[in-house]
Symmetry: C2
Subunit: 331 residues, 2 copies
């Protein structure tokens, strides 16, 4: 295993120290593993919290800031954070307007966020929860009951974050978060497996001439393996799966082509060209787009496609100012 | 070779199509391979052009926009663009105030930009050139006479771009570009070799337990190979090499920890923690920083460190608004 680390045990701690040093606009509790905005909670604003296992950077810590999250709780690599982290974060960002937990649909995350919400309830803090489950590839996996939460998490955090920044009430912020999730679908393709520091070797065996279609962001198995195909063919597989589940014809779409951590940007732009062609052929209209590494899987090579059916209101919220380490515009 | 591509021949064309589709704020001539701002040249403003082989994305196309470049000329992968590209770009961005060519110090790039400048001179366009040569690792390599140009290119493009945006004259923009180059040093470390699409296999053999110290952004050999070390040890090697060449004690510093394309962000933050520690131990003060993938080497795993000694004026120009696909703040 070749990684830029100091020790397997210190990966998350060291990365949080680096995040804190690189981003003085964040407040990073390295011991408690909670990342918040440096300025503390915004009076009258619903607090937005997300979290999950590390290894998906910039998700979630890179999305803390104006117009997006108030706090992120990173667990160990590919391991849910513990309820105390989310409970502390909930107290930290609460300004009296309530707190929304944005949870990717993995069993551990769902359970631990639920316990944190109960702890917050004991403290008299109103908590709502949205569970993101956008991955059309499989219905169940080792990690989750029902669909996995993947790329739509970025859209939910951005759009709900924009509405919260306008001081909308907790119910409205929760409703828009659910709306974005319901209107979003994702599909992932792996060219290589990822290697967790603890395992020290790739999470699964993928022959040198095969790709895994429908892979999850922890290297969970996908629908099936095929021989390596062209970018256009791979994009076609992803878009067919998404379109079968949620027809795209006639829709205004927000589209993300996301790298899984080990894929260079030049390949992501090639994939985006082909994704855009397939969407046009399906009758969809891309009106907003994002190409880059936003929700990764350590060093995995490959990409995911996420599509959200926009409305005028969702487009306005997507365009609203955001200032975070990983997503920034309008300010 | 596993890559998200359609064919070896079409890599750059397809990536440019994707860039164009993803960024309507750019004007991309896919056939002529010139990327400019969609709005055309800015009246009264010096035009800034850079270019070089593809495979280093987001460099240079991702840095075209307000406050940075006016045009980028991508060559084939790891291959200099041809003089006609830079000549066309020079005509495209010329508004009468002159044009600055920002050239990384590789023999082909230097030669071809020189020919383009002569063509522009024939057209009556005043052209100045800055050659970036910040890599302290080696004096000569297969690709260059003298030091290689690497990470400082990002700093030069940002800072000279900010001054040009203020409508400063060509001489002042050229002077600040040279100043940034002279005050910057870089050092790179590879964990793996990169694979060009044309070669189809890694550019050099690196044993599973070794790293290459002082590697170039095309996989050029470095100073030597050593057994895999910790992030802190690797950062120490990079900072020692830089500090030996340009002492950092007492200086205000802009620091970039840059991923080479195949390194996940979590590892870059670990490296940044250790880079920051070593700089503090050397008596330097980091006042600005950048962590991410800015000048890559296809799918190479590893990172580079670039350090620039700031002045108050350079800091102000660094902080000035920038709106490009890969670097964005203040607007």
């Amino acid at each position: 295993m070749k990684k830029v680390i100091n020790s397997v045990e210190d990966v998350v701690r060291d990365a949080l120290n680096g995040l804190a040093a690189a981003h003085p606009e964040l407040s990073v509790d390295v011991v408690g593993k909670v990342i918040t905005r440096a300025g503390g909670p915004t009076p009258g604003k619903v607090g937005l919290i997300s979290g999950g296992g590390s290894g998906h950077e910039p998700l979630h810590g890179g999305f803390v800031g104006l117009g997006m999250l108030d706090a992120a709780c990173p667990g160990e690599v590919f391991t849910s954070p513990v309820p105390d982290q989310m409970a502390q974060a909930t107290r930290d960002v609460n300004s009296g307007a309530g707190v929304l937990h944005i949870v990717k649909n993995y069993t551990g995350d769902v359970l631990n966020f639920k316990m944190a919400a109960e702890l917050a309830d004991d403290d008299g803090i109103e908590v709502a929860t949205v569970v993101v489950n956008d991955d059309v590839a499989v219905e169940d996996s080792l990690y989750t009951a029902g669909r996995r939460g993947t790329g739509a998490t970025v859209f939910v955090e951005k759009i709900a974050g924009a509405l919260a920044e306008q001081k909308a009430p907790l119910k409205a912020v929760t409703d828009v978060a659910n709306e974005v999730n319901e209107r979003s679908r994702s599909f992932g393709i792996a060219l290589t497996a990822c290697t967790t520091p603890a395992a020290g070797k790739p999470g699964f065996d993928l022959p040198a001439d095969e790709v895994e279609l429908g892979v999850g962001i922890h290297g969970e198995p996908g629908r099936h393996r095929v021989k390596l195909q062209t970018s256009s063919e791979l994009a076609g597989v992803a878009l067919s799966a998404i379109n079968d589940d949620m027809p795209l014809a006639g829709q205004d779409l927000l589209v993300m082509v996301n790298g899984l951590g080990g894929t260079p940007l030049i390949e992501l732009y090639i994939a985006y060209q082909d994704v855009a062609s397939h969407i046009a052929a399906l009758g969809g209209r891309i009106t907003r787009q994002l190409v880059g590494n936003y929700i990764t899987s350590l060093d995995m090579a490959g990409f995911t496609v996420t599509v959200c059916k926009l409305t005028n209101d969702l487009t306005t919220l997507w365009d609203a100012p955001v200032r975070t380490p990983a997503l920034r515009w309008g300010v």
